[in-house]
């Protein structure tokens, strides 16, 4: 224990210089997405109002996950608020690692949070994280290219139509790809996309007995369709494209269509960053002909308080502030309605000002049509649309999506990949004791 004291003393010495005495300070781990970074800019207003200082730890998504997961599982106590998603929240909540968000003030109006979001961020009816913004996925397309191709996008297209339209829009000599989709390995990247594509072809990850289903014909059909369509009309090297890469392609006018997160709508219609801002239309995510599930997901980046923090009250205060109606109005006032964090509150979509935003209705429709409790045509034992909310999923899906990415890169066949995915998933599920 002598070592412990010596180290503490040494550490304390190095702190003397910097440790300014503040009444209260909370540490927040967050992801480096645009809306979060914008929020950091407004933190001063929160500090002014409450006297609580806020320290930000802003990390790229993958690093953030690694960091907060390590900290929460070991009870490291490094953060007072963590930014997590719909996948982590129910699992962590069930383990008792998060502080239940109960007893919020009347003006906060918990009931106003979109039911889909509230359900996804709860476990056994208790809310464990408050959505900062929520998203589904939808089709974003170039109205000018659509017109040029002589086609008209229906509000609810099928995959078959999407494929035809993509082929018609593709003009490789002019660097225009009919369709840009995620192929990048990772459960939250290409893994999420191919999972929802599977859903819309009638496929599922597991049957009711938790047996992996990659040996079923629906998966083969979905994956083959995806690969063929991307070969016809997708950008070169799409096997490494994720949300970001596609966003930048679309903003540069190199995509005819892009099916991805609804939050992207505000980026592609922002004339500061996007060269095609005034030529974007929106439609629901497609389904295969005759399949009753669309390929739209449901996700929220949400703020949660790890159990055991010394700053529970201050943390709650911050969450109330950041996910409130007032915060939305604050952003709207300063940066316009198109830039407020979307997808979290019913009142936002009832606001006549917000209804003027071109993508507002399609975003809401997409969110409302997503049902995490019944994600697939055939019944499944799990909750979640583009994921299965079990602890093993992230690891399995990342590796499965790596096999799929190898297909996209032309390194193996659809059959080989599905066979490996099936074997690997079975192996892991068995190891986990299912």
């Amino acid at each position: 224990m002598y070592l412990k004291h010596a180290l503490r003393a040494a550490t304390a010495l190095t702190f003397v210089a910097t440790a300014a005495a503040h009444a209260q300070s909370i540490t927040i781990a967050t992801v480096n997405n645009g809306d979060m970074i914008r929020m950091q800019g407004y933190t001063d207003k929160f500090t002014e109002a409450t006297g609580i200082d806020v320290e930000w730890v802003t990390l790229e998504e993958n690093v953030l996950r690694q960091r907060v997961t390590t900290d929460i599982t070991t009870k490291g106590g490094q953060f007072d608020i963590m930014t997590i998603g719909m996948y982590e929240t129910p699992i962590w909540g069930a383990n008792g690692w998060l502080v239940p968000l109960e007893g919020m003030s009347a003006e906060y109006d918990v009931e106003d949070i979109l039911p889909a979001m509230r359900n996804g961020l709860s476990h056994d009816g208790t809310l464990f994280a408050a959505p900062f913004y929520g998203e589904s996925s939808m089709v974003m397309y170039r109205t000018d290219l659509m017109e040029k191709a002589g086609l008209e996008m229906p509000d609810a297209p099928t995959w078959q139509f999407i494929r035809e339209a993509a082929a018609a829009m593709t003009d490789r000599d002019n660097d225009i790809n009919g369709i840009c989709l995620r192929g990048k390995a990772g459960w939250g990247e290409g893994g999420a996309f191919i999972t929802v594509t599977g859903n819309s072809f009638g496929a599922r990850w597991f049957d009711e007995d938790w047996k992996p289903q990659f040996d079923q014909p629906e998966w083969n059909e979905a994956l083959t369709f995806f690969v063929d369509m991307m070969a016809e009309s997708g950008p070169a090297g799409y096997a490494t494209n994720g949300f970001n890469e596609n966003l930048s392609l679309f903003q540069q006018g190199k995509c005819g269509m892009w099916i991805d997160a609804t939050v992207a709508a505000s980026f592609v219609t922002n004339p500061d960053d996007s060269t095609v801002a005034d030529k974007v239309g929106f439609a629901l995510a497609p389904n295969a002909d005759g399949v009753d599930k669309r390929s739209n997901w449901l996700w929220a980046w949400a703020l949660a308080i790890p159990a055991g923090t010394q700053q529970e009250d201050a943390a709650k205060q911050f969450i109330e502030w950041a996910t409130s109606k007032d915060y939305i109005e604050l952003v709207a006032e300063n940066e316009g309605w198109a830039n407020v964090p979307p997808g979290a509150r019913t009142s936002l979509y009832e606001n006549p000002e917000y209804q003027k935003v071109p993508f507002a209705k399609m975003t809401l429709d997409s969110i409302l049509s997503a049902d995490p409790n019944n994600p697939t045509v055939k019944p499944v034992p799990y909750v979640g649309i583009q994921f299965a909310a079990i602890p093993e999923f992230a690891g399995i899906a990342t590796q499965v999506s790596q096999e799929f990415s190898a297909v996209y890169a032309g390194q193996q066949s659809v059959e080989e990949a599905l066979e490996k995915a099936q074997a690997f998933t079975a192996e892991e599920m068995e190891a986990a004791g299912y």
Binding site: V57, E60, T74, S248
Partner: protein, 276 residues
């Protein structure tokens, strides 16, 4: 060892060496150039080399978003602290190995190096739990100790090889004159070993500065160094090449400048006993 050569050959050497040097340096140069572009210019096709409007806006944005000086200061303290602590512990050990060698000296050296082979990711949980227990998470003291331990084998080895090159007769002469062990180390050995110690310090400072696994995983706010700073710019939404370049330039500039001024020392001293 400047050999006399024909001017023609010298020009040829010069041209070739400069071409190769610029090629190797190019990625860094390109990063620095890109950091002065707007996001749109950064992805312009064809790429813009010098013919763009230089702007400092990326640096302003990065500075506004993160407190660069705090990250920088932590990097300096952690890299500097671990290097100094390492050298203090390594000098006596290396001295003993070089001047009082035994049959096992070589084995001990190789064993020390082998401790570096434990894959960091495999022991993240044990170390994280240990750090919680000791209250060392997110402290500079904790990181100083970890990075010191990681680099200690390299420090010992480098110093050992420098010490070995010091002729033993000098020591014996000093001893004849009645110098104590302490005096021997302080007044005889150390001055002779200064160049070696200097390059040891430099190399380990660089290694500690660039260490990106422990520094990222064991810190949050108070002790977060530049490696954590970079992790918030790596792949945000939207166009980010210019901002990433600015952040990268800020992260590597201090060490690049240090390297610039000390390269002679580094070139002369980095032998690991390779020169015989």
């Amino acid at each position: 060892m400047a050999r006399a050569v024909t001017p023609r050959r010298k020009s040829l050497n010069t041209a070739l060496a400069w071409a190769v040097g610029l090629l190797i340096f190019f990625p860094i140069l390109w990063t620095i150039l890109t950091s002065f572009k707007t996001e749109a210019q950064a992805i312009a096709s064809p790429p813009l080399f010098l013919n763009f409007n230089w702007t400092l806006e990326n640096y302003a944005i990065v500075q506004e978003r993160s407190d660069y000086m705090r990250f920088l200061w932590n990097s300096v303290i952690i890299a500097g602290g671990s290097t100094i602590l390492g050298v203090i512990i390594a000098v006596p050990a290396a001295w003993a190995m070089a001047f009082v060698p035994s049959k096992r000296t070589k084995d001990i050296l190789l064993w020390m190096l082998s401790t570096k082979m434990l894959p960091a990711v495999g022991v993240l949980y044990p170390i994280y739990l240990l750090f919680i227990r000791l209250g060392l998470l997110d402290t500079r003291g904790g990181l100083v100790v970890v990075l010191m331990l990681i680099n200690l084998p390299i420090i010992v080895w480098m110093l050992y090889t420098y010490f070995r090159e010091i002729p033993g007769e000098i020591l014996e002469a000093a001893r004849m004159d009645g110098a104590t062990l302490k005096e021997e180390i302080l007044y005889v050995l150390t001055p002779m070993a200064i160049p070696g110690i200097a390059s040891t310090v430099l190399l380990n400072f660089i290694l500690a500065w660039n260490e990106a696994f422990w520094t990222l995983n064991l810190t949050a706010v108070d002790a977060a160094p530049l490696t954590a700073f970079i992790a918030s710019y790596s792949s945000p939404e939207g166009l980010f090449f210019a901002k990433l370049s600015a952040a990268s330039t800020m992260a590597i500039a201090p060490i690049l400048i240090l390297g610039w001024f000390s390269q002679k020392q580094l070139v002369r001293g980095l032998t690991f006993g390779a020169v015989k």
